[in-house]
């Protein structure tokens, strides 16, 4: 062992360790700690039967959608991000790529109706989950959340947080197209 290689390793090793740490922490900074992988992906959508928002006398269940690829969006009138997401959902619904249904989460009926009246209603229909039980079955923890459910009633994609035009273009449209074909 001569002095030359000794001094090189003496400086290179800590430098390498430091560089590795910087890279590791840099990646860590870019990760979103709220994006928790959902265990519900590729699992059957949990069963619900809830009163419809516009017509509480009638109910709606995920079973009625078997045979169709559809989108379920969890929203609430008190949710600020939902307001931000609303125009994206409106465009998505207009494109007619897949029917969009709403799960109105822990809301007051009159508030929810006023919200849809004011902003426009992109949903085929919404159901009222007043006590949030169904949302818990769907693993909801931050409104808005959006699910893509396939023809067999299996959850194929979940978006936690607002759907953006990029997500519509890059994730939802390709996935729905593929699922509709199969």
């Amino acid at each position: 062992m001569n002095a030359g290689t000794l001094s090189v390793t003496r400086y290179l090793v800590p430098l390498g360790v430091f560089a590795a740490l910087v890279v590791l922490l840099g990646i860590g900074l870019k990760l979103d700690p709220r994006a928790v992988p959902s265990p519900l992906i590729d699992k059957p959508a949990p069963h619900f039967e809830l009163p419809q928002l516009h017509d509480p006398g009638k109910t709606f269940s995920e079973k009625e959608m078997v045979g169709k690829v559809w989108l379920l969006n969890v929203w609430a009138s008190w949710c600020v991000t939902c307001r931000e997401e609303h125009p994206v959902l409106t465009d998505l619904a207009k494109s007619g790529i897949a029917p969009l249904y709403g799960l109105n989460y822990k809301d007051r009926r009159q508030d929810a109706l006023a919200w849809l009246k004011g902003l426009g209603d992109p949903y085929q229909l919404s159901v009222s989950d007043i006590d949030g039980r169904v949302a818990i079955d769907y693993g909801v923890y931050g409104v808005p959340e959006t699910y893509v459910i396939d023809k067999r009633g299996v959850i194929r994609y979940k978006r936690i947080g607002p759907v953006t035009p990029e997500i519509v273009q890059q994730k939802i449209i390709p996935l729905v197209t593929e699922l509709s074909r199969g």
């Binding site: 062992m1 928790v36 959902s38 265990p39 519900l40 949030g132 818990i136 769907y138 923890y141 931050g142």
Partner: protein, 156 residues
Amino acid sequence: MGRAFVLAFLLLLAAAAWGREAAPAAENPQLEQRMMALAAELRCLVCQNQSIADSNADLAKDLRQQIREKLAQGQSEGDIIDYLVARYGDFVLYRPPFKLTTLALWLGPLILLVAGLIALFYRLARRRAAAEVELSEAERARAALLLGSPDEVDQR
């Protein structure tokens, strides 16, 4: 006089009958204790650095209520943990299970420790080997010259 006093006293008692017993903090304190013990093991997903027991988020309150109901129905702690993991994933557990995806989490510190110890022993061994190098006759003589008289060198 005495009668009036008794009457007044009885009237006061009657007034007390209107008051109601304070509602208990929980209907079943033992159940509440089990619920809180379990909730303390579970992460609140809304405010991720708090447990479901600590958090005041609406979701945490709802989940506490769910746990309470399920315990009252006679479900075990394990059943309830399975129920929540099925919905929110292992992330709700403050003690994650040992499996393939958590291998680095569980073994990472141990691997670092072992690697550190190996590096330490390696270095120490090398330092000892370096210290045990024998001096040649010529080097000895030169050292003695530099340090002073040979006697002093021998005394060291």
